[in-house]
Structure formats: structure tokens, C-alpha cells
């Protein structure tokens, strides 16, 4: 048997998260509110807060979808996804997949990828910058057999649509998006370079392959060899970037 307080709290949660009407019989309304109207104050606040959290993380998806479609997506998502975290900013990890399954994605097939980008950006924003190896140390330590560990403040994304340009577009730019704006795969690196701003680098396919191989723990020589189409000049450019960005946090022989 739940205690009276336990029973009341369960009823409150079902009223707000599931729309169960039983709570009204157990309360007195404040002001000139009836019990049902008083409960409704709390019921209305719940989707509003979660929608605000989704809107903050998925700002560009919101802009692309417009209020009506974005709020509809939020409504459906919230109905099936209670928040289990103490932090509202953790809410929405499955929202990209939810967007991908909506009819909106027929017209805008890049939505799921755009949402994945926005989620990854938010996650990285809250990560501590890692200490990257200085260029000279990296150059001295790295050989074909050494394993280069990417710093924790970095994430590699392989997306089926080009979304970085859409994300970067000026807010005021309201020219309609066309298939040529999103068609084609995109490989991105999001990272912090020793301090808090988040940087985004568009990666050619071979660079992405090489970095993914490093991320998996392959030695540098094998990682470069696994990157189809990475010629010597490309390898040099990549290495220069690694040295200058501080992306590599450690080198193991």
C-alpha cells in the first residue's frame, strides 16, 4: 500500500505527464480556479518547459520546420518520452530519430542529420576543453607505429546530408532550401581547441576515414593507409591541422 504522500505524488505525476484526471478530486483550487483549472496550470507548464528545452537545443530544426510543425513534433515526442534527468538540457537525445520518422522529413530529408548535429554541438558545448599536445611534442612523438588519442572535446560525425551550411545560414536568410542545399553526404569534426568555443571542420572523406581509424585506436601508419585516396600532400595537411588544433591529447608509442 503506498503511503498517502506516495499516492498523491503518483497521482500528480500521472495527471501532468499522462493527462490522468483523478488529481482534481484531491485538491482545492487557488484564487478563483476550480480544482480542475488549478491542476491545469501544472499540466500546461509541463509540455511548455520540455518544448522550450527542445527548442533551445534544436534551434535550427525549429527555424527550418516553422513553429507549427516544430511544436507538433515536440508534442508527439514529449508524449512518448518522459524526462529522466535532473537537467532539462539533457532532454531530447532521441529527438533526431523522432524527426527522421515524421512526414516533415519527406520534404526535408536532412532534418534528422541536422538534429544530430545540433545535439552533438550542445553536448560538446558543455564538455571541458582538453589539453592538446603542442605541435612540437606531437611531431616529436608521432611515428607510423604510434597511436594518437583524440582529445575528449571532439566528435566525428558522418551524416547522409549536408547540414552544416544550413546550420550556419544567416537567421535572416529566408530563401527556401532546395535539394542542392542538402544533397550529398557530409563528414564533420566538432572540437574545442584548448578553450571553450566549439569549432567545426568539414572533412574530406579520406581525412574522416583517417581520424575515425585513429579514434578506433589504430596506429598512425595504418590509419593513414586505411584512408583511401589520402595522398602524401593530404596526409601532410591533416597532420598540420592536428598539430595546430591541439586535437590530439596523447601519443602512445
Amino acid at each position: 500500500m503506498p503511503s498517502p504522500l506516495e499516492a498523491l505524488q503518483r497521482r500528480f505525476v500521472s495527471a501532468v505527464a499522462e493527462g490522468d484526471g483523478a488529481l482534481a478530486a484531491a485538491v482545492r483550487g487557488g484564487g478563483r480556479l476550480s480544482p480542475a483549472e488549478a491542476v491545469a496550470v501544472y499540466v500546461r507548464g509541463y509540455p511548455a518547459r520540455l518544448t522550450e528545452a527542445l527548442g533551445e537545443t534544436f534551434q535550427v530544426c525549429w527555424r527550418v520546420l516553422g513553429d507549427e510543425n516544430f511544436f507538433a513534433a515536440c508534442r508527439d515526442y514529449i508524449a512518448g518520452h518522459p524526462s529522466r534527468s535532473h537537467n532539462l538540457s539533457d532532454y531530447g537525445s532521441d529527438f533526431p530519430a523522432c524527426l527522421g520518422a515524421r512526414p516533415d522529413s519527406v520534404q526535408a530529408p536532412f532534418l534528422e542529420d541536422l538534429a544530430r548535429f545540433e545535439w552533438a554541438f550542445k553536448e560538446l558545448f558543455h564538455k571541458a576543453p582538453h589539453d592538446g599536445l603542442a605541435a612540437a611534442r606531437l611531431a616529436a612523438a608521432a611515428g607510423p607505429a604510434s597511436r594518437l588519442r583524440l582529445g575528449s572535446a571532439s566528435v566525428l560525425l558522418a551524416l547522409n546530408h549536408r547540414v552544416y551550411g544550413i546550420w550556419r545560414r544567416d537567421r535572416a536568410d529566408d530563401t527556401p532550401l532546395r535539394p542542392r542545399d542538402w544533397e550529398g553526404a557530409e563528414r564533420l569534426l566538432l572540437y574545442k581547441a584548448g578553450s571553450n568555443p566549439v569549432f567545426v571542420r568539414e572533412l574530406p572523406v579520406p581525412e574522416h576515414a583517417a581520424l575515425s581509424a585513429l579514434e578506433k585506436g589504430l596506429p598512425l601508419g595504418e590509419a593513414l593507409a586505411a584512408a583511401d585516396g589520402l595522398d602524401e600532400a593530404g596526409a601532410r595537411t591533416l597532420f598540420a591541422f592536428l598539430a595546430e588544433s591541439g586535437l590530439i591529447a596523447a601519443v602512445a608509442p
Partner: protein, 279 residues
């Protein structure tokens, strides 16, 4: 937090909209900042960097919204450890949260939900405060919340509940004067009796904020400056609670820094004025 101009006790909520301004080290009568714990306890990024920078120059209090101290399941696993880690870095002069519950572990409603004023609720809160204070290694303060409904099973008045909790749990009170006014209007009790009944030695901080009049009830929106009746209650409260730091809370439609600062100046001036009057 006391200084020569007598305004040393007034602080404001730290909001990201004001970060650029504050990082320019402005001359300001604001003497301390309140940071929302959840905005910093999961972030190692820019927000924490700014908080720690501000902390170099000002005292800071940590104010949480997710402890769910009245929740029958107790604080969420891991929550207190994260809060403790943040406290170790930010070294706040006070850690506070709300006298309410916020939902269930499996479904956090992210709201400050009212408790019934019962002996069972006092027991549950006291046990949860005990866990929190043990984990944090310090005393916390709980804030009275605004509410839009009450429960017939309540066995005592809200101020009796608040005081009983603080005594039983061995914690302090964060007295939100705006919330007292909102709930007094909504539930038809005397805000003055409430203010006078709370033991001064239990009050560790005072909040002042703005509500919205929805026509059929008052809604605690923190989206505007305190209204005149709230200032009047504050004047009454501050004479007994003159040692408590005062905070201007403004969370929604956050105004320009100058507007916020002006409210802090007003709170400090009213305090001086009230203390200068003979009892």
C-alpha cells in the same frame, strides 16, 4: 557580504544574457550572485568558466530546482554527488533548493510541485534534507514555493510546515517574499502573519521577484520587477531579518543589466530605510 555603503547584502541571479557585461568587471552595487545549480553542475564548458570567473570577484550562492526534497523517492541517484562537485569548485556561501517535489525519478516534471502540509511530508523532507546535508557536508536552505492548489489533508498552515521542516531537518529557510504574497492571495491567508511567524534565526536568505496577475490567480513567473505589495512585505520582513542576504530574482524576459541593478539598489535602499526606523 557587508560593506560600507550598506548595500552589501543585495545580489542578483546570474543569467547568461549578462555574461559579457559582467566579464567586463563593471562597477556595480550588486554584491553577490545566485547561480542555478543545474546550469553548471553538468557543464564543464563556457557557463562554468564564467561562473568561476565571477566567483573570483563575488560571493556566489547555488540555487537548485531538482533536489525534489519532498519527493518520496528522495533525490535522484547521482544528483548530490554532482552538486557536491560543483560546490567544491564554486565554493558558494549557501546552497539552496525548494520545499516541494518535482515529479518521480522515472518522470521528472521539472516543476516546483506543492506538498501537503502533513506530518508525513515533514518526515520525508527531513529525511531527504539529512541525506543532502550529509552528502554535501553542510547546511542547506529550503525556499517556500508559490502554489496554485492546496490539499484538504493539510494539517497545518504553510508557515508552520516550513518552520517544522527547518527545525526537524536542521536546515535553514530561504524566504521568498514574492512567493508568500502569491500563495497568500491564491489561498486566502495573511502574508503578514506568515512573515511574522517565521523564526528570524532560521532565515538564511530572502528572495524578491515578480509575479503575473492572470485574472483568476497570481502566477509566479519571475518575469518582471517585484510589485508594490511585495516591496511592502519585504519592508516588513527585513526589519526582523536584517542579517539575511537579499536576492532579486528575474528568470524570464531577463531585462538589461541596468534594470536588474536598479532593483537591487532599491532593495538595498528600502532595507536601510526600514532599519533606520524606530521599532
Amino acid at each position: 557580504m557587508r560593506d560600507a555603503d550598506g548595500r552589501g547584502l543585495v545580489g542578483v541571479g546570474l543569467r547568461s544574457a549578462h555574461f559579457p557585461r559582467l566579464l567586463g568587471c563593471p562597477r556595480t552595487p550588486v554584491r553577490w550572485f545566485e547561480a542555478l545549480s543545474e546550469n553548471y553542475m553538468d557543464s564543464e564548458g563556457r557557463p562554468l568558466e564564467v561562473l568561476l570567473k565571477i566567483r573570483e570577484d563575488y560571493p556566489v550562492a547555488l540555487h537548485g530546482v531538482s533536489l525534489s526534497v519532498g519527493g518520496v523517492e528522495g533525490p535522484r541517484p547521482g544528483y548530490l554527488a554532482r552538486l557536491k562537485r560543483l560546490a567544491e569548485r564554486a565554493e558558494p556561501f549557501l546552497i539552496t533548493d525548494h520545499l516541494c517535489f518535482t515529479g518521480a525519478h522515472a518522470s521528472n516534471l521539472h516543476d516546483l510541485l506543492p506538498l501537503p502540509y502533513t506530518e508525513e511530508a515533514v518526515r520525508v523532507v527531513a529525511a531527504n534534507v539529512g541525506r543532502a546535508q550529509d552528502a554535501l557536508g553542510r547546511t542547506i536552505a529550503l525556499e517556500n514555493v508559490s502554489s496554485y492548489l492546496t490539499y484538504p489533508e493539510s494539517e497545518m498552515a504553510e508557515w508552520e510546515f516550513l518552520t517544522a521542516v527547518a527545525r526537524r531537518a536542521g536546515c535553514k529557510i530561504l524566504l521568498d517574499v514574492n512567493n508568500i504574497y502569491v500563495s497568500a492571495k491564491n489561498h486566502d491567508f495573511s502574508a503578514e502573519i506568515y512573515i511574522d511567524a517565521v523564526p528570524a534565526k532560521l532565515v538564511a536568505q530572502i528572495h524578491l521577484g515578480g509575479y503575473s496577475d492572470m485574472g483568476t490567480f497570481l502566477f509566479d513567473t519571475h518575469s518582471r520587477a517585484p510589485t508594490q505589495p511585495v516591496w511592502d512585505l519585504y519592508r516588513r520582513a527585513i526589519r526582523r531579518l536584517s542579517g539575511a542576504p537579499v536576492l532579486i530574482e528575474w528568470d524570464e524576459d531577463v531585462p538589461p543589466w541596468e534594470t536588474l541593478e536598479a532593483q537591487a539598489v532599491k532593495a538595498a535602499a528600502l532595507r536601510e530605510e526600514a532599519l533606520a526606523q524606530p521599532a
